[in-house]
């Protein structure tokens, strides 16, 4: 009998998961409290004030925009993967003591089609195409559910295989997919652009063994683009950058065929190792490569460069892609499939061509750093973590210090599901889902004293499913 690793290597697990009848999937009852994190939101959330739980609001004015999937099931059908729910953009607004929450679904073709049919039919990362689907191009499957950034006076709700969707930052109303140039319509645009302190935006669009390098102005206008060749056709969710270089990590989860859903096109080939491509921002033809052991990842931290040319960055690394293949599908069904926990790890690329990994010794995900020093030397990484086996999500927020080799962290406890936190000046801001209260909460920390707990927390009157990524816009 084939074991799980053999199935992975043959790219068969995803096929099996995706083949589960949608009726069956929809009938499986959530089995644990954490399933509130994958609940369905049926309609937009009108603006509503928050209730302060404790503490005092610091002098902080702005909005924490966050994005994540919030509609997984329709009628008897459901998506087959956590990553395929409709994007719901939340706006947590703070103006002194006045705080509010509003949320609105991104009005995508996928959402319109499925609203009309009352069924999940559009294919996605891990969801197969079903009867009634309409797929003329990538944006017909675009869930716009992964990240939201601000540029040029509007919000961009990001997916990874198609266009950003522009939103009104006040009303969250969808303006439509963004075409940066007519001949670049429907090009992939990862959900993790790297934004320089100047505001200039770098991104890549991943396509097999090629990638399109995007360069946008601080106002989100197209400046330059070029297709480059990659060392291998790796699945790509994120990349990183120093002030001078793009750093593209090519993991050995590679596309070996063309299937829908996309996850069925991928095979885990650890024997190929991991390749790191470093490209000069000023001349994309200048490139060098490094080799690392096989690893799987979703997220990297900002990279930086030292005087001798050494490049460092951190990432949250898994041993293999069991989580996206099995774990993230099971979550929608209310099951917690155990996968390896993401290990915060420092990557060093040395001028002599050597590359090595140094684990921090903690589980961590959603690494973030201050946007003011993006691409510049730093020692601190904001993370959420303490992933354990009792549930699939984080319960701790912290700042890991690579110089000191320790974390300043706060444990929200077993009743809170902790989402990504982001730097906001001298503070960290982020959200949790309080399982005991059945409500989403907003928290602000003093970034110098995380262990003291939030300086202020507010609760909403709704329980929203977990988000992926977002931005603090002051």
């Amino acid at each position: 009998m084939l074991d799980r690793r053999e199935l992975l290597c043959r790219g068969m697990l995803a096929a099996g998961a995706a083949a589960m009848p949608s009726m069956l999937a929809a009938q499986i009852k959530p089995a644990a409290d954490w399933t509130l994190g994958l609940t369905d939101v049926l309609e937009d959330i009108a603006p509503r004030p928050l209730t302060r739980l404790h503490g005092r609001a610091p002098a902080l004015t702005g909005t924490l925009y966050r994005n994540g999937p919030a509609r997984f099931r329709r009628g008897a059908s459901s998506v087959s993967h956590w990553f395929d729910g409709d994007g719901l953009v939340r706006a947590w607004r703070i103006a002194g003591e006045r705080t509010s929450l509003a949320a609105r679904f991104v009005d995508t073709p996928k959402r319109r089609i499925e609203e009309r049919l009352g069924a999940i039919v559009q294919p996605g990362f891990g969801t197969p195409a079903r009867s009634g689907n309409e797929l003329g191009g990538p944006d017909d499957a675009n869930a716009a559910n992964t990240h939201v950034i601000a540029a040029g006076g509007q919000l961009l709700a990001l997916w990874e295989a198609g266009s950003p969707f522009a939103l009104d930052p006040e009303t969250l109303a969808t303006r439509g997919p963004v075409t940066f140039r007519p001949d670049l319509a429907q090009m992939p645009f990862l959900a993790h652009p790297r934004i320089e302190p100047s505001g200039r935006i770098w991104n890549i669009g991943s396509g097999g063994d090629h990638a399109f390098i995007w360069r946008l102005s601080p106002t989100g206008q197209f400046e330059a683009g070029k297709t480059i060749r990659l060392p291998m056709a790796s699945y790509m969710h994120d990349f990183t950058a120093t002030a001078r270089h793009l750093v593209i990590l090519c993991q050995p989860w590679v596309q070996t065929s063309s299937h829908v859903p996309y996850i069925q096109s991928l095979e885990w080939q650890p024997e190929r190792g991991t390749r790191v491509l470093v490209i000069d921002k000023d001349d994309l033809t200048k490139r060098r490569e490094y080799e690392l052991p096989p690893l799987f990842f979703f997220h990297l931290g900002d990279a930086w460069e030292e005087a001798d040319g050494t490049i460092r960055f951190d990432g949250c690394f898994h041993k293999d892609p069991v989580f996206p293949i099995l774990g993230a599908s099971a979550l929608v069904e209310g099951r917690h499939e155990h996968g390896e926990m993401p290990a915060l790890t420092l990557v060093t690329l040395r001028p002599d061509g050597r590359a090595d990994l140094a684990p921090a010794g903690i589980t961590a995900e959603f690494p973030r750093a201050a946007p003011e020093i993006a691409g510049l030397p730093r020692s601190q990484t904001v993370f959420v973590g303490d992933y354990g086996n009792d549930r699939p999500f984080a319960r701790v927020v912290g700042i890991w210090d690579w110089d000191r080799g320790r974390a300043d962290r706060f444990d929200f406890g077993a009743q809170q599901l902790v989402e990504e936190f982001v730097p906001a000046g001298d503070h960290l801001i982020g959200t949790t889902l309080n399982l005991a209260a059945g409500a989403s909460e907003l928290h602000v920390f003093d970034a110098r004293r995380i262990a003291d707990g939030p300086v202020v927390s507010w609760c909403s009157d709704v329980a929203l499913p977990l988000t992926f990524h977002g931005s603090w816009v002051a």
Binding site: P123, G124, F125, A129, N133, E134, L135, G136, G137, P138, D140, A141, E160, A161, G162, P182, D183, L184, A185, Q186, M187, P188, G205, S206, G207, G208, D209, H210, F212, G225, T227, A233, Y235, M236, Q255, S258, H259, V260, P261, Y262, I263, S265
Partner: protein, 160 residues
């Protein structure tokens, strides 16, 4: 995600209607001269409807077998017809009765090629006979085939 066209599904779209539609603007000729047509030959009129942008031309390929249609083989006929308002009309004579399928796209800029992004994603409107839908690529022969009998035949295709 040009091979890999894109990410998730892109694959899908990237391979879309290109197969068999790579015809040049000069390929108006019918490979089968009317004089050589069998006695009980058929004519086929294809009316394209629902055209949203009244300019350019419709470029189409006609297939008469599953292998050519589904595996990027050679079409039996090709044509480029001007768009007139919201419609365009293509007419073929001297066809052998049997089953056929059509792949077409609206060449908006009149350059004779399907416009595409750097990863090969089609960026001009396209359509198939039976109004068969693209689902991870062009529809298969079985979804797009239609019968052509001896004498006059007419079909409609919505292109948008």
């Amino acid at each position: 995600m040009h091979t890999r066209l894109i990410t998730p599904l892109l694959i899908v779209a990237a391979t879309l209607p290109l197969g068999g539609c790579a015809i040049s603007i000069g390929d108006r000729g019918a490979p089968t001269p009317a004089a050589a047509a069998p006695a009980r030959a058929a004519t086929l009129a294809i009316r394209f409807e629902g055209i949203e942008t009244p300019k350019g031309q419709i470029m189409l390929s006609v297939f008469d077998n599953a292998a050519a249609h589904d595996q990027n083989g050679a079409p039996v006929r090709v044509a480029a017809v001007p768009v007139e308002g919201t419609t365009a009309l293509a007419t073929f004579e001297g066809l052998a009765p049997g089953d056929y399928a059509v792949k077409a796209f609206h060449d908006l800029d009149g350059d004779g090629k399907m416009g595409s992004n750097p990863f090969g994603m089609p960026l001009e409107p396209f359509a198939f006979s039976n109004d068969a839908k693209a689902q991870g690529g062009p529809p298969r022969w079985e979804a797009a085939r239609f019968p052509v009998a001896a004498g006059a035949n007419a079909i409609r295709i919505a292109i948008k």
